[in-house]
Symmetry: C2
Subunit: 123 residues, 2 copies
């Protein structure tokens, strides 16, 4: 990688209290659920087990006053999942936070990137 | 935890290229090295093995044009480590980035926090 050739990426975890947190993984899972309409399918796209995807959504749903994902498990139609209004709100707040952080710190990220070593691409 | 009773904390990883990154762990290690004058002691304070602490510093030193930590391993005086000018610069850029991000996103963090469930303290 040559310095300056690509933008630094941010991975931001927002930690509330002792354990509650939202970060890039949960945000991506919410986005994929919104697109796929299924927790299992969204998790699969991320290489996550069915159990792990359900656990993460269980954690998120328990963290907030209102569930972020509304789901029916199994059943004749195979189940399905949708983001609730709360889910959309939290996801868009997270994405907006990320983007504001990147904007606010762009100059500092650039300064840091300028200090990186120029690593040959083949290394 | 009751919503609104404590500030959300941020854990920000800045990822450059494919693998190079700096995050809360490396920043804390640099700070502790600055305070202790020793990589091993700084790692120990963080519950990190000697090997792990040296690895992280090796990674950081290799990432940037100039090493962030200048160290002498072992020897009669038991070795020692100091932050270089580059180390101080990178650390302060990281901390400033964190603080700018928190300021820029304070309103959104507050909105997210207001949506958290009020979990009884004994739970």
């Amino acid at each position: 990688m040559e310095p300056g050739t690509c933008h630094p990426r941010l991975r931001i975890r927002i930690v509330f209290g002792d354990e509650e947190m939202i970060g890039p993984g949960k945000a991506e899972l919410l986005e994929r659920i919104d697109r796929c309409g299924s927790i299992a399918a969204a998790g699969r796209e991320m290489g996550m087990s069915y159990k792990r995807a359900w656990q993460l959504i269980g954690t998120l749903n328990a963290m907030f006053c209102n569930p972020l994902v509304d789901s029916t498990r199994g059943g004749p139609g195979g189940g399905g999942a949708v983001l609730t209004d709360a889910g959309r709100t939290v996801l868009s707040l997270y994405r907006a936070f990320e983007s504001d952080a990147a904007d606010a710190g762009a100059a500092r990220l650039g300064e840091m990137q300028a200090l990186l070593r120029d690593i040959p691409a083949e290394k």
